[in-house]
C-alpha cells in the first residue's frame, strides 16, 4: 500500500503554543526522515497536500504545522523553535533532512544553521536570505489593500503568487475560484509582517548540511535572485531552477517532488556548487 492519510499525527507543546505535526510513519532503511516546513499563509494541507502523501508513502516524513500566535510579534526564532521541538520530540537524536518552502525555507535554514549535527540534508524551496525592496513594495500594497478592505487583495496576492505563465494558461473562472479560497486572518498578517524583516545572512554561512536550493524562475514573492544568494552563501549547496512562480506547489508539485526525491536519494549526485539542469521531458 502506498496510501498515506493527510491527518495530523500529534502535537508538541512549546510554552503556551501547541504545534501540530503530520507523520507518514513509513520507515525506509538507510534513509533519514524528512521534516517539511510550510510557507507563509499555509499549512501542511495547503502547501504539501501533494508532496506529503507521495513522499511519505516511501519514507518517514514529518510535516510541521507552524503555530502563529497573534498576541506578539512573530520571529524566525519562534518558528525555528517549533520545528526543533517537533524534531526533538518525534525524532530524538536522529539525523534529519529538512525541507522548507518560502518562509518555511527561511526557518529551515535557521534550523540547519543552529543544529548542524541534526540536519544532514537541507532543501530550500523558494526561500530568501534578506528581504529586499521588491518584497517591501509588494507588502506596502498589501497593507493598503488590507487596510481599505479592498476586494483586490486576493488579486494582489494570487496574481503575484502564481507565475504570469500559469495565470495566462488558466481559464479566468478557475483563477477566480482560486482567489475565493484564500484566507487572510490575523495569523497571516503576522507572517507577512515577518516576511518584511527577514534577515538570516548572519547565519546561513554556518550551514554545513548538504543543501539543495530550488529557485522559482518567475517568483515575484521570493525572487530567484534570493535563492541564488542562498546558493552562494551555503558552502555545500547545489542549485536548480523550476519554471514556476512562487506557487511551485500549485504550478509544479510533481516537479518539486521529483527534485526532493532525487536529491535525498542521491545527495552526492551533483557536487557542491553545481547548477542542476532541469528534466526535459
Amino acid at each position: 500500500m502506498e496510501t498515506v492519510q493527510l491527518v495530523p499525527a500529534g502535537t508538541v507543546t512549546l510554552g503556551d503554543l501547541t504545534v501540530a505535526y503530520y507523520d507518514s510513519g513509513t520507515e525506509a532503511p538507510d534513509t533519514d526522515p524528512i521534516v517539511l516546513v510550510h510557507g507563509s499563509a499555509g499549512s501542511t494541507a495547503e502547501h504539501f497536500g501533494f508532496l506529503f502523501p507521495l513522499l511519505g508513502a516511501r519514507r518517514r516524513v514529518i510535516s510541521v504545522d507552524l503555530c502563529v500566535p497573534v498576541d506578539r510579534d512573530l520571529s524566525v526564532e519562534l518558528l525555528q523553535q517549533q520545528v526543533e521541538a517537533v524534531i526533538d520530540e518525534v525524532l530524538p537524536s536522529r539525523p534529519v533532512t529538512v525541507v522548507g518552502y518560502s518562509l518555511g525555507a527561511v526557518v529551515a535554514a535557521a534550523v540547519a544553521a543552529a543544529r548542524p549535527a541534526t540536519v544532514r540534508q537541507l532543501v530550500l524551496v523558494a526561500g530568501w536570505l534578506r528581504t529586499d525592496n521588491e518584497q517591501v513594495l509588494f507588502n506596502s500594497v498589501l497593507w493598503e489593500l488590507l487596510g481599505s478592505r479592498s476586494p483586490k487583495l486576493a488579486v494582489h496576492l494570487f496574481g503575484n503568487f502564481l507565475s504570469g505563465e500559469f495565470l495566462a494558461a488558466q481559464p479566468m473562472e478557475l483563477l477566480e475560484e482560486m482567489m475565493q479560497m484564500g484566507r487572510f486572518d490575523e495569523t497571516v498578517v503576522r507572517q507577512f509582517e515577518l516576511n518584511e524583516r527577514v534577515d538570516i545572512s548572519d547565519r546561513v554561512e554556518a550551514i554545513t548540511a548538504q543543501t539543495l536550493v530550488i529557485g522559482c524562475r518567475h517568483d515575484r514573492m521570493a525572487p530567484v535572485r534570493q535563492s541564488l544568494q542562498l546558493f552562494g552563501a551555503i558552502e555545500n549547496a547545489r542549485f536548480t531552477e523550476v519554471d514556476s512562480g512562487h506557487a511551485i506547489f500549485i504550478e509544479r508539485p510533481a516537479e518539486a517532488l521529483r527534485l526532493i526525491e532525487h536529491f535525498t536519494a542521491r545527495p552526492d549526485q551533483y557536487p557542491a556548487g553545481s547548477v542542476i539542469p532541469a528534466h526535459r521531458p
Binding site: 493527510l6 497536500g49 501533494f50 507521495l54 510533481a254 528534466h279 521531458p281
Partner: protein
Amino acid sequence: MSTTFTRHADRPFTADPVEEADVIIVGSGFAGLGLAMQLERDQNQSYLVLERADDVGGTWRDNTYPGVYCDVPSHLYSYSFRPNPDWSMVRSPGHEIYEYLQTAAREEGVLPQVRFGTTVLDAAWDEVSATWLVTTNKGTFRGRFFVPAMGLLSDSKVPEIPGMETFGGELFHSAAWDHDLPLTGKRVAIIGTGATAIQLVPELAEVAAELVVFQRSAAHVLPRRNRAYTPAERRMFARVPESRQGLRSAMFWFTESTFGERRRLPQSVAQVKAAVDSFREAEVPDQALRAALTPDYEIGCKRLLYSDDYYATFGRDHVSLETSALARIEGNTVIGASGNAYEVDVIVMATGFAAARPPFANIIRGREGVLLADHWATGMEAYQTITVSSFPNMFLLSAPSAATGHTSAVYTIEAQVQNVMEALDWVRANDCAVLEVRADAEAEFVDGVDRRGQGTVWTEGGCNSWYLDPGSGKLTLIWPDLAYRFADEISHFTPAAYVATPHRPRTDR
C-alpha cells in the same frame, strides 16, 4: 548492415529466412518507429520493421473515425527528439499525428527498413542459432533480437452479440471506418461510451437521422478546452525552441500533478470531482438524463474523458441514451438488456481493443516452445516492463505496465527505447549471444508494480476497466505511479537482472 550478424552466418538454419537483421521490430506506431529511429541514428545494428498494414502510424493510421483526436496535448504527445512547432491545435486531430509519424519515419530514414503488408504469423526462439525466427505471410525473417511493438490498441475488440448475423445494415468497429459509407440520414447505433465514443457521438449526431448511444457505464467528462495555435504562436515555437520546450514541460508537469487523483489524494480528488460535477450540471440540465450520465465509480478508474459537446449532444431530439448493454440484434432491431428496442441502419462498435490480453501473445514462443500467452496466464508482465524470462533476446515495447492513465504514452515509450538501446550496447560491448532476464528479477519487479497499484483508483475505484486483466483482475496495463518514476526506473538497462551467455557456438546440440 552490421557485422555482428555474420558471425552466425555459417550456422545451420531451422528455416530459410527471406531476410535477417540484428533487430526485428514488429509494428510501426510510436513504439516501433521510436526504436527504429534510434537504431537508424545509432548505426550499430541492422534492423527491420515488420508492418502488417501498408503504412506506418499504428493506432493513428488505423483510427480515422470522424472526430478522432488525441486528448493528450500534442506538444507533449510527440517524440522529445522530434519536436514539431506546427501542431495546429493544443490537442491535435488524429490525422495530424498520423502525418507526424509518417514524416518522422521518412525524415529519419527508417522507411527502407520497413516491410509493409507483412503479417507476423508466428515468432519462435531458436535455441540452436540463438535467434528469433519470425514467420510471416511474406516468408520467414530471422533476427538476433525480437521486439514486439504492436501496442495494445491495435486489435479491435468486437463483442459477440446474439443475432449479429441477422443484421441487415452496416456494422463495423470504430477503428475500421468506412469513409465511403454515407451516414447522412441514417439511423445509427453506437455501442460504447469510452474515449472513442465520446469523440464520435457529437459527429454522428450531426449527420444521422437518429442516433442511439448504448452505455453500459457512464464516463467522467471534463471540458476539452481545445484551441488552435495561431500562426504567430507556431512561428514563435519555430523561432524560439525554448518556448516550445517550456510548453512541453509545463504540459508534462501538469499531467503529472493529476496523478494525485489516481493515487486518490483527497485534495486532488476533491478538485477534479468539483470540476467534473459542475461541468455535468451545467451541460445537462435535465435531472433524469444527468443521473443517467453520472458514473457510479470514482473519477479516473476508467479513462477520464474530455469533450465540449458530448453532453450537449444528448439534449438533441434525435439522440437517445440507452443505459444498458446491447443484448441482441434481430434484423434491423437492436435491443438493450433493458428490453428497449431501436430500429437502426448502422451499428458502430466503439468497443475498444483487446488490450490486456493482446493477440500477439498467442503467436510468440520462447524457450521450449512456451507460449507467451501461457506465460501470461494470469496477466501480462515483464521485468522493467520490457523483458520476460524464458523469452531471451526479446524486448517488449508498450505492453505490460507501460501505459499511464494520466500522461503521454510517448514519454514512457522513450524510456523503454532508451533501455533497449542500452541493452543492445551492453550486449555488443560484452560480446554475448543470449540475454535473458532472471525469473526472480521479473517476479520482484512485478510484485513492486502490484504493490504500488494498491490503493490507486484503478484497483479501488469501483469499476471494471480495460486496464485490468480480464482473467485475474490484476492491474497489468497501467504503470500505477508517476511517469517520471517510470523514466527513473525503466530508462536504464540493469545487467544484474540478466543471465548473459557468451558469444560462442553451442556444442551441446
